[in-house]
Amino acid sequence: MKARGPAPGALLATLACAAALLFVADLALGSVRIPLVGVADALLGRATDSAWASIVLIFRLPKALTALSAGAALAVSGLILQTVFRNPLAGPDSLGIGAGASVGVAIVVLAAGSAGGSAFLSGLGLAGYALLSIAASAGAFLVLLVILLFARRVENGVTLLIVGLLVGYLAGSLVSLLVYFGSPQKVQVYLGWTYGSFSAVTARQLPVLFAAIGLGLAMTARTSKSLNALLMGDRFAESLGVRVAGARTRALLAAALLAGAATAFCGPIAFLGIAAPQAARRILRASDHAILIPGAALLGSVFALAADIASQLPGGGTVLPVNPLLALIGAPIILSIFLRGSRQEGSAR
């Protein structure tokens, strides 16, 4: 009765298949091409070629799993921000939340105690990585709080983005100060982190990433009902019995945790957080968060996996940084939102 075109369920299943295909492709492709049979053997632990097995299990599987989960986390975080701020251009990076997370990471990496050296990041134990994600999430949430404070006073969405930009600059200047006073080795580590990569996470650290993102997604799923109401405005939501301030804070906590964890492990990943939820809305033709949350998560995984595969394309051991590749996908999507938005304003209001 409500459906137009394919049912959302079928579209979600298609997206899930696409994510699965890209996941397998991400395991098979790279500087060394491994046939699908080899990938399957390695995964099932009956590998005949031990080199292939170690490439798949030690390098590519953690990387693909990281791309899968970080992509989903950033996309869902962006979806929440777009809904809560009722702004299609809101996202972890456009609101300066990635910058906030960077401050958290910079403080841990550059200012933390004695554990120095270039092995700092990879040498961190599980506790260290948990600390890193907590610091990044805290930085992200702090920025969100500042933006929330402004959001109550400024109705205009563009103004809000400018506030986000300024907050981002502020966070950036804090980071520069930390970098200025940091030891060269630590700065090196920090700068490497800022390029954004899915490959820095080892199999041992994955559980921390999974736990943080799993918690964030579970929190998001619980807010899906109130997110729908918030999309229609605060007064609308309140008249339906939603405790607006509480619901908004819970949703933003989830968004900060998701963006913070993904940023802590993969560095600031640009565009994905804005572009994936937008694309999900258009592909699924839905505004219901019960559909959009899984949809954005799957599409975020698809984007991240595609970018990771593309980053391996040059072959011969050369790996491109992920961020510029995501910008190639993301920038046109955001541009088209701008163009469509101004057209709609011209006709509808």
């Binding site: 999309l231 007064r235 019995g241």
Partner: protein, 356 residues
């Protein structure tokens, strides 16, 4: 038992509304009102008199400056948000960015207070949504996107959402703003029928005093001078309360027609109408008033009859013959209201010139 049934659904005593704090702004005080199930009240008043504030205070969205509002026997401002959402359903004037939501989806929001954490619609909810959509006559558009609707259809869908919320009190803030004339009448119809058929209490605020007088069981009037009065529409119209609230430079409320009309300064010319009551006469009266003249029946001091118009029902519509006052047999004929208007206007202008 009888007492419980007789108790008003919504009542306020000595209510003062506005914004508190350092920059206190009192919009109105001493508000006493009552509303029972099955009653339809219309809230009218000039812009800035505090209509929206009163409505928000009545449903507990805003704290009263003093006094209390009781809804279903409980002080409304002390209810939790959830409790309120099952007692009062509100439609505000906000514009919504509804994305891909369909009319059905929007109306289904009304079931929000009743659904589980996953917002699944049970059979009971689906039934409530479908019947709410039918009640406002949007059944054919249920699967249409909300954003594709006309303003009138949107308003009806939002009212359906409030109906689906299944509360004893329904509050509509200016539901007829932005609507064309037929859609406005429809909204008033829907509101009245809802009160009559479901026993809900309905309040709406509006600038359509004309429709409010025709449809509402009681009129709540805020006069922009911090005063509030309520009563049957006829009482407020004839007591002059509406006039006191709205009359301004150059126009005033006419209790005879229930509409506002402009008041021409200086002396006025009158026209006698020689015709039985009926459609033709009614429109001839309107024409006379539109030209700034008065119908001689309502002759008042300082006005002077300038013509007598008799109306005859012809085959293709009314025929008018016009006889100038004090000119013996001089007269002319008009076959349409337009011609009659030109004749009368010329005559009035000529008289104006000679009298100077």
């Amino acid at each position: 038992m009888k007492d419980a049934a007789d108790a008003p659904l919504l009542s306020a005593k000595g209510l003062a509304i506005g914004w508190g704090g350092r920059l206190e702004r009192r919009l109105s005080s001493g508000i006493d009102l009552e509303l029972r199930g099955g009653d339809f009240a219309a809230l009218v008043g000039p812009n800035g008199s505090g209509k929206s504030t009163l409505l928000r205070t009545l449903v507990g969205f805003q704290a009263p400056l003093s006094g209390e509002v009781s809804l279903c026997g409980k002080y409304v401002y002390r209810l939790t948000v959830e409790e309120r959402s099952k007692r009062a359903a509100c439609v505000f004037t906000d514009r919504y960015d509804s994305g891909y939501f369909t009319v059905f989806d929007i109306v289904a929001f009304g079931r929000y207070p009743y659904t589980d954490a996953r917002n699944r619609l049970e059979a009971r909810d689906l039934e409530a949504v479908t019947s709410a959509i039918a009640a406002v006559g949007l059944a054919a558009l249920a699967s249409r996107r909300f954003s594709e609707l006309s303003d009138g259809e949107r308003q009806k869908a939002l009212i359906a959402r409030a109906i689906a919320q299944d509360c004893p009190l329904l509050v509509l803030d200016e539901p007829t703003a932005f609507l064309d004339a037929p859609a406005r009448v429809e909204v008033f119809h829907v509101a009245r029928d809802l009160a009559r058929s479901s026993g809900k209490a309905v309040v709406l605020s509006t600038h359509d005093i004309d429709h409010a007088l025709r449809y509402a069981d009681s009129l709540w009037l805020m006069d922009g001078l911090h005063r509030f009065s309520s009563g049957a529409p006829e009482d407020l119209a004839t007591s002059g309360a509406i006039g006191r609230a709205f009359d301004g430079e150059g126009f005033r409320f006419d209790p005879r027609t229930g509409a506002f009309r402009s008041v021409e300064a200086g002396r006025s010319f009158a026209v006698e109408l020689d015709a039985p009551a009926g459609v033709s006469r009614a429109w001839a009266e309107r024409l006379v008033e539109r030209l700034g003249l008065v119908v001689a029946r309502h002759l008042h001091e300082g006005s002077e009859a300038i013509a007598r118009v008799s109306i005859e029902e012809g085959e293709a519509g009314p025929l008018f013959s016009l006889r100038e006052a004090g000119s013996g047999s001089r007269g002319s004929e008009a076959a349409s209201y337009g011609e009659l208007a030109r004749l009368l206007a010329d005559l009035a202008e000529a008289r104006e010139r000679t009298s100077k």
